[in-house]
């Protein structure tokens, strides 16, 4: 049976980015079909504990904040790898986006009247919040920011936001198809027309044809196996099917963020809010090492900096040895039972439920763990994929690119909503301006190809490796050789090992042949894409001979703005054995590269002037397949606005 469905907009992925995008398209009157591996409320967005950065300046420690200060923090955090225009769009829209969520019903934590007790750099501080701010959205402190800016709903921001946004999706009548997986994009002559979809209830195939297709499938942390905070569903299949087209590039795949506080041994995330609220990191001698290593920011330096210090301490033999490998301690005891059981309740529950320890009295075992994929499907500022009309990407699955080589805490959840609104509007405009002018024969052809692929897996009888053995081998290579610290020789080994695993995919055999969704077949269909994502990550990391943000090369420790102020693009041409890399400028530069204010200082300066660099951006992007955005490149820049903000912040800091 060849089931073919049509719609205006097909959104692949039911997390926050996909849902917010669907709302925008549905509000504009389009028919929207939203596919999700799980019921949308079970998407990984629900696990975001921390919050959303938006410069509202509602509390005393946020005084003087504005979108430009947020812009400065984000560009510095990205180690100048971000597209500064996209950052500008983001910081300007973030306050509106969080207020809209309040309107949707998110129970944001509010400014409380009178004296409030906070922990700042380990000290208890009493601050009186002014009466005129009482009841507005409260902020908490997150790493890498000049101000308290992160809006939050107790310790379950992602959950609360996802439920509110999904409520809107239900209200608008978006056709949500859960347990449905897009396994191939349908495209012809660089125009995308939807996807071939496999039902995870019955195993049946169908095709969904659409004017506009949106990839919103989140990150690919599972290529790191158990060494990730990501959910089991975060296998990056949206990025993988985009790569399969042969023309759409993935960008900055080497930019992988590790989170300082993944819980041992399962990798469950313990929120940055722990450090924001005053938690300490200790070595095995219970010494607070971050005070020595980063006297200014201490535990609140940006994530990449904290992770690298933690790994150095572990390499020095100051980690706590366990059968699962070494770890460090997170000390929350001084925050007290009241604080831990209310403001950090989810953390408290994770410790008691999963480890059987009580953070009120016990130290929490943590280690740096893969957390976030800065890289993804390369899109222009409207969310349109390079090289493919009608295909969009949004959220963690995309490289928009506001995070560059390091994302700040509180900026990813905010990105899902802000980008969902901005890109959703562009998707709606695109769907309005275009017809569904496609032959169903194309759909049938693509569906047959996938049927053949499935039949191939089921028919393979010779004895080969299991799909899980290949997956585990990939994960071991990734954490050992493409982890926090990278060197050329290890990366070369990684590329070799991953290439071998990719070749093995074609020999792997299934043991389960049962009809229906067949969990082993379901994973097998992802395996080639999974191996390709890992290989692209390693190849990109090997090629980039500098250190920038989360990409730390011990053999090239300096950030090299003379050669590497660029974005990596990786394509996988049809039938090629390996990816092909190319590079493009990061975007128009307003804030020139400088010191981040934390972390290493070593860097090689740009040889071009900023003006020379900026003059080449548009042509270089077009050459890489960037589509024309609705508004010209640079239209949202606010040239030079950062100067006043930086001067003001500096003045306040001195005072």
């Amino acid at each position: 049976m060849q089931a073919v469905f049509t719609t205006d907009v097909l959104v692949i992925g039911g997390g926050l980015a996909g849902e917010r995008c669907a709302i925008e398209a549905a509000t504009d009157g389009h028919d929207v079909v939203l596919l999700s591996l799980v019921p949308p409320r079970r998407s990984h967005s629900c696990a975001a504990q921390g919050g959303m950065q938006a410069a509202l300046a509602n509390c005393v420690k946020g005084a003087g904040d504005n979108p430009t200060v947020h812009f400065l923090d984000t560009v510095k955090g990205s180690d100048w790898g971000a597209d500064q225009e996209v950052v500008r769009i983001f910081v300007d829209q973030a306050p509106i986006a969080v207020r809209e969520l309040a309107h949707f019903g998110v129970p944001w934590t509010r400014v409380r009247p009178g004296k409030n007790s906070y922990f700042i750099k380990g000290e208890r501080v009493d601050i009186s919040e002014p009466a005129e701010k009482v009841g507005l959205l409260m902020h908490r402190d997150f790493g890498g920011t000049a101000k308290w800016r992160t809006c939050y709903a107790a310790a379950g921001t992602g959950h609360a936001v996802l439920y509110a946004v999904d409520g809107e999706v239900v209200r608008l009548g978006v056709s949500v198809r859960d347990r449905m997986e897009a396994i191939a994009l349908i495209h012809e002559d660089r125009r995308c027309w939807g996807a071939v979809v496999r039902c995870l209830r019955t195993g049946k195939l169908s095709t969904f044809l659409a004017k506009a297709t949106v990839i919103a499938t989140g990150g690919y942390g599972r290529i790191y196996g158990q060494y990730t905070t990501n959910a089991t569903i975060n296998e990056g299949m949206g990025a993988a099917i985009a790569l399969d087209t042969g023309v759409v590039p993935l960008a900055n795949m080497e930019a992988v963020q590790f989170h300082p506080t993944g819980l041992m041994p399962s990798g469950i995330l313990v929120t940055e809010g722990c450090r924001g609220d005053g938690g300490h990191l200790l070595d095995k001698h219970l010494h607070r090492f971050m005070v020595d290593l980063e006297p200014e920011k201490q535990e609140l330096a940006s994530r990449d900096v904290v992770c690298r210090h933690m790994m150095e301490v572990i390499r020095d033999g100051r980690g706590v040895e366990t059968p699962y490998g070494p770890h460090l301690w997170l000390d929350l005891r001084h925050l007290g039972e009241q604080h831990l059981t209310t403001k950090l309740r989810e953390v408290y529950e994770i410790c008691t439920e999963f480890l059987g320890i009580n953070p009120v009295h016990d130290l929490v075992p943590v280690r740096p763990t893969q957390h976030y994929s800065m890289g993804g499907v390369r899109v222009n500022k409207d969310g349109q994929a390079y090289g493919m009309t009608g295909l969009f990407a949004v959220g963690e699955a995309s490289c928009w690119d506001m995070h560059g080589f390091n994302r700040l805490g509180g900026n990813s959840l905010a990105e899902t909503i802000v980008a969902g609104r901005v890109i959703g509007r562009r998707v709606a405009q695109f769907a309005r301006a275009n017809e569904l002018d496609v032959s169903t024969a194309l759909a049938v052809r693509y569906q047959r190809q996938q049927q053949k692929r499935i039949a191939g897996w089921l028919a393979r009888t010779r004895s080969g490796p299991s799909v899980y053995a290949i997956r585990d081998a990939i994960a071991e290579t990734m954490i050992r050789k493409v982890g926090i610290f990278r060197t050329g020789s290890e990366l070369e080994q990684a590329v070799e090992e991953l290439s071998k695993q990719l070749r093995l995919v074609d020999q792997a055999t299934l043991r389960a042949k049962s009809p229906g969704m067949n969990p082993e077949l379901t994973f097998a269909l992802r395996l080639r894409g999974f191996a390709r994502l890992a290989l692209v990550t390693a190849v990109s990391a090997l090629a980039r001979t500098e250190s920038r943000g989360a990409h730390a090369r011990t053999d090239y420790p300096a950030r090299d703005d003379a050669h590497w102020l660029s974005r990596t693009l990786a394509r996988w041409p049809q039938d090629a054995k390996e990816p092909v890399l190319s590079y493009e400028p990061v975007g128009l530069i307003d804030l020139p590269p400088g010191h981040r204010g934390y972390g290493k200082v070593e860097s090689v300066d740009m040889t071009d002037s900023v003006e020379e660099y900026n003059a080449c951006v548009e042509t270089a992007w077009r050459r890489q397949g960037a589509l024309e955005p609705v508004e010209p490149i640079g239209a949202s820049m606010q040239w030079g606005s950062w100067r006043a903000a930086e001067a003001e912040t500096e003045q306040r800091r001195r005072a």
Partner: protein
């Protein structure tokens, strides 16, 4: 899954797992038995993945976040509904019997369709804010007392895992019953001053046998809830509100305004 393989307790665990694949005409409901050596920190998340990857790759079950926030992995564990991901084998006897949650449609083995159930519930109780005014992107956010925000967040903590529904004597026999999770949703919106629905409007949804007065008071939901939601108080709150509604004119005194009556 790369889990440490060494033994901890030395216990040999025996898993008896319900099997049935409705898509396969040759499949019939039955129990399969698997043995597994217990490892340190072992949870049912770790155990079920090991069984699938080492012993029977056709075994169906659901996980996503594996940190008790996504609500995917509700199961009957030795007859009691609970989340598999945060159930430590150390807390269980040598023999562990696993069944899919009742009430929900079976997808296969331990996997059930909670998504469709909760979606119809969301449509039925209109689980979104019925706003009083349209969103103004230029305006400052409306103020809210932080204690009220916290109270709403309490109700918002439900992860829709379905354990309460599976444990509910009424939901097991009356498909139309809105269920404890549904009641909790309703209470969450009733106390939210941003929602314009009045108690009279809620009365139609809540006051029938399919709503709060259908509950026969076994309160297994309250005991079972993996997130520790105070469902007993939720029911009491709703009954109180509904009684106040019918007992006019006393109602006017008992229910001065949404804002003040928000604390459960």
């Amino acid at each position: 899954m790369i889990e440490p393989r060494h033994e901890a307790s030395g216990r040999k665990l025996r898993f008896e797992i319900f099997r049935y694949n409705p898509v396969d005409p040759s499949s019939h409901p039955h129990m399969d038995t698997f043995e597994l050596g217990e490892t340190p920190y072992m949870t049912l998340f770790i155990a079920l993945h090991r069984i699938r990857e080492e012993q029977d790759p056709s075994l169906q079950f659901d996980f996503s976040c594996r940190s008790a926030v996504c609500g995917s992995c509700g199961l009957l564990i030795n007859g009691r509904p609970g989340l598999a991901c945060h159930t430590r084998t150390a807390d269980l006897p040598d023999t562990i019997r696993l069944h899919p949650l009742p009430v929900f449609k079976l997808i296969g083995d331990l996997s059930v369709d909670t998504g469709s159930w909760f979606r119809q519930m969301a449509q039925r109780v209109e689980s979104w804010i019925h706003e009083k005014v349209p969103f103004d992107p230029k305006a400052q956010e409306a103020r809210m007392d932080d204690d009220l925000a916290r109270a709403i967040y309490e109700g918002e903590r439900c992860i829709e895992c379905g354990c309460c529904v599976a444990s509910c004597g009424v939901a097991n026999v009356r498909p139309q019953f809105v269920g404890p999770a549904g009641m909790n949703r309703i209470a969450r919106f009733m106390m939210d001053p941003r929602d314009e629905r009045t108690d009279s409007e809620w009365f139609d949804v809540v006051s029938s046998d399919e709503g709060v007065f259908g509950c026969v008071g076994l309160m297994a939901c309250h005991d079972i809830c993996p997130k520790g939601l105070p469902l007993l108080e939720v029911y009491a709150y709703l009954r109180r509100k509904m009684l106040a509604k019918v007992m006019t004119p006393l109602a006017r005194e008992a229910e001065p305004s949404k804002r003040q009556s928000s604390k459960m």
